[in-house]
C-alpha cells in the first residue's frame, strides 16, 4: 500500500510538472500577451513598461522557473488584468464549481445506474428500446440546447425556477439537470452494456447454478462486476465537471472555473490560465487515484502494488 501511494505521488508530481510546462510554452507561442493586455492604442513605451513590470522581458526559462518556485509555495501569481491574486480568484470560484459538479454528478448517477440496470434486465423490450433511444438523443443533443429548453419551460413559462444566477438552492436545479442529462445519457448506455456483459459471464452462471436467489446474484455478484467500467467513466466525468462546465456556466451565468478560464484565455491573462490548468490537472490526478482505490473495494481481484 505504501509503495503504491509513493509511486502514485511521484507520478502525480511528474504529470503536474508536465502540464505546467505545456501550458507555459503554449501560452507563449500564441502571441505577445502585452498586445492584448495593453489598451488598443498604447504606445510602444507603455507596452515595454508593462513587459518589464510583468517580468515578460526575462528569458523564458527564468520566467518558468520562478513560476514553479512560487507555485510550490502556494503562490500562483498575480493577475495584472484583474489586479488580483490568482489563488484567490480560483478559491472564489471553487465553491460554485464544486457545488454544481457534485449536484450534476450525483444526479447523473442517480438516473443512470438504476435506469441502466433496469433496461439491461429487460433487454429487447419496448422499455429498453425507448430508454436507449432517449439516451442516444440525449448524448447527441448539444448541452446548450437542453439548457435553453429547460430555461424556457421552467423559468419563463412556468416561472417556478430562476433563469440564471448563483445564490439559493433554486438556482442550482436547472444547471445541475442540464449537466446530469448529458452525463447520464453516456452513463446509462455504459451501465446497460456492462451489465449485459457481466450477466452472461461464467461466474454469474456459477452463482445461479449454486442456487443463489436472483436478487443476490444481481445485486451482490453482477452489480459489483458491472460497476468497474462505470467507475472509470464516472471518474472522468467528475474530473471534467470539476474543471469547469463552461457552456452550462455560460447559459446559467454560473460563476464557475470554466468561465474564469475562458475569460482569462481571451485576455491573455497568463497567471490565471496557468493556475486554472494546474488546478484542473491536480483534480484529474486526485480523482484518478480515488478511482484506483475504488477498484480495490469493488473488485477483490485487483490489488494495489
Amino acid at each position: 500500500m505504501f509503495s503504491f501511494l509513493s509511486k502514485r505521488f511521484l507520478q502525480a508530481l511528474l504529470v503536474l510538472l508536465g502540464v505546467s510546462f505545456a501550458t507555459f510554452i503554449v501560452g507563449h507561442l500564441t502571441g505577445d500577451p502585452v498586445e492584448l493586455m495593453a489598451r488598443e492604442n498604447a504606445t510602444e513605451q507603455d507596452k515595454q513598461d508593462l513587459r518589464v513590470y510583468l517580468g515578460l522581458d526575462r528569458p523564458l526559462e527564468q520566467q518558468y522557473f520562478s513560476f514553479i518556485v512560487k507555485a510550490v509555495q502556494g503562490d500562483l501569481g498575480f493577475s495584472f488584468v484583474q489586479q488580483a491574486k490568482v489563488s484567490q480568484l480560483i478559491a472564489e470560484r471553487l465553491p460554485a464549481t464544486l457545488q454544481l459538479a457534485a449536484a450534476g454528478f450525483l444526479l447523473a448517477l442517480a438516473i443512470s445506474i438504476p435506469l441502466g440496470i433496469i433496461i439491461a434486465l429487460n433487454r429487447g423490450t419496448i422499455w429498453d428500446f425507448l430508454v436507449t433511444t432517449l439516451a442516444m438523443a440525449g448524448q447527441a443533443a448539444p448541452g446548450f440546447w437542453i439548457g435553453l429548453m429547460l430555461v424556457v419551460l421552467f423559468a419563463v413559462h412556468l416561472k417556478v425556477l430562476p433563469v440564471s444566477g448563483y445564490g439559493g438552492a433554486a438556482y442550482i436545479v436547472l444547471p445541475a439537470i442540464t449537466l446530469a442529462l448529458q452525463s447520464s445519457a453516456r452513463l446509462t448506455r455504459l451501465v446497460r452494456a456492462s451489465m449485459l456483459e457481466v450477466l452472461s459471464a461464467d461466474y454469474i452462471r456459477t452463482a445461479h447454478s449454486k442456487g443463489l436467489r436472483e436478487r443476490v446474484v444481481l445485486f451482490v455478484h453482477a452489480f459489483r462486476g458491472a460497476m468497474i467500467p462505470v467507475v472509470t467513466m464516472a471518474g472522468l466525468e467528475l474530473a471534467e465537471l470539476v474543471s469547469g462546465a463552461f457552456i452550462t456556466e455560460t447559459i446559467f451565468a454560473w460563476p464557475g472555473i470554466g468561465r474564469l478560464a475562458v475569460t482569462a484565455v481571451s485576455q491573455r491573462d497568463f497567471p490565471v490560465i496557468q493556475g486554472v490548468v494546474l488546478m484542473s490537472a491536480a483534480f484529474f490526478v486526485l480523482i484518478n487515484f480515488l478511482v484506483d482505490v475504488l477498484y480495490v473495494v469493488i473488485d477483490p481481484r485487483v490489488k494495489l502494488k
Binding site: 508593462l50 510583468l54 433563469v163
Partner: protein, 504 residues
Amino acid sequence: MIKGNWTRRLVLLAGLAMGVTALTPVYAQDAKPVVIASSEDIISLDPHMLDSNNPTGSAIWSIFDSLVRRDKDGQAQPRLATSWERVDDLTWRFHLREGVTFSNGEAFNAEAVKVNFARMDTAPFNSVQQLHDQTGLTAVNVVDDFTLDLVTAAPTVNMLYWLEEAFVAAPAYITDTAPDVVASAPIGSGPYKFVEWRRGDALVLTASDTYWGDAPAVKDIIFRAVPEMSSRLNELAAGTVDIVVGITPDAAAQANTDVSDVVQIEGLRKMHMGISIKGEQPALADPRVRQALNYAVDVPTIIDSLLGGSTKPLLSIVNPPNNNPDLTPYSYDPEKAKALMAEAGFADGFPLTIQWSTRFDGGKDVSEVVGSFLEAINIKPTYEAVEIGQFREALSSASLKGIYFQGWAALINPSVELVILTCGHVDNSSGYCNPDYDKLVIEASQTLDDAKRQELEYAAQAIIWNDAPWLYLWRLPNIFGISKTLSYEFRADNYLEPYLITYK
C-alpha cells in the same frame, strides 16, 4: 450508527438551506434594487484599470468621480471640478469642488488629484490609462487646496475629453492598500458606494450617504454578468433583470415584452473594412481601387438584411455632430466601381483576403456579404477568421492581408478620431500615410480657436473620405432592454450611469 450519521447530515443540509434563504435579502416593493445584466464580467474595480465602457466602466463611473463629466452628447460638464479656464496655451486651470469626501472619510482636494494622476502614469496603469499620452500632460501643479493647474508639452484641445475618464480615488487608500484590495473594495466619492462583489456573478452598490450631489432615485444597484444573450433576454422577460446591455439586432424584438421595452440607438463605433495598404495586395495602394471597393458594396442593403435596419451608413470618419456636412456616403454604383478599377489597370480584378476576428459579432457574415459584392467587380475573395490576439497584433503593426472587419472607436472627439489615421499612428492599422492630412490634423489639435479648428478638421475629413483607407460601413448599433417601470436615456458610448435612472 449509520442512521445517526444520516440524520446529522440531513440536519446539516437543512441548516445550509436555511442559511441560503436567510442570505437572500427581502426588499420592499418600491425599494427593489435595479439589476443591470451585461454579457461580460466586471474585470477589475481599480479606477485606473478601466478599459471597457460596460460593465467595468459603468461600475467605475458609479463609484468614482472624474474632474469633468462627459454627458451623453459628448459635452464636458462640471463634476469634481466646478469650472475651468485656460491660463495660457499650455496651462489649464481647474477650480475644484469643496466639501467633497470619499466614502472612507478622506477629504477631496487638489493634492488627491495629483496623487491619482501620478499613479496613472506608472506601470502597470500607464498601459491602460490614456490621460498623459493623449494630452501631453507634463506637470500637475497644486495652486491651493482647491485650485489645480495642468501643464502640457504642446497646446491641446483634448484635455477635457481625457479628464472625463481619469478617475480620482481616495488618495491615502490607494497608496497604502495592497493592489488586490484596491481593485476589489474600491473607495471613491461617487453617487454609489461599494457593498459586495462576487466575481463573475454580481456587483452590489448602494447610494452613498456622503455623496456631494443629489441622492440618486435608485438606492440599490446590482450589476450582473449574464454571458448568454438569450439568458439575459429571458431574465428581462421574467422581470428578474431590469436593464439588459448588449442585444444583437436579430434579437432586438425579443426585448419587447409585457414588462420591458427595447431601446435602439446608433452607437459611436465606426464599423468598417480596413484596407491594408501595405498588405499582400499591392493594388490596394491605389486610391482609385479603394474608392472602387466603396462604390461596389451596397451598405444600406447590408444594414437592412443583416442588422435589421438598426443603424445608418457612416457619414465621415468623425462622428456626428462634428462630421463635415458636405460629405455623403459612397453610393452603390458597381458600374462606377468597374470604371475606376479599369482606370487603375485592374479591370480583371485581383485576389483579396478578407479577415475578421471574434471581437465584433457577425464578422463572418459581414465579410462574406461584402466579398460577394466585390466579386461583381471581378475581385476574387478568400476568407480568413483570425484569433483575436493575433488580430490585434496585426492591427497595431498594420500587417493585415487584404481587407478586415474592424470598428473604431466609441467616442465623440474629432481630434482623437482624426489622429488615428496619421502616418505611423499605432491605431493606423491600414497603413495609410498622407503628409497633407497629417499637417491638418496636427494643426487642428493645437488650434484653440473653435471656428478655425473646425475648418481644419472639415478639410482633413474630406481628404480621408476621398482617399478611402477604409471601406466605410456603419455605426455599430447599441440595443438595450429596459423594464417598463424605469426610465433612462441610454448613451451611445455604452456607459451606464445608474444614478440617472428614475422610476416612472
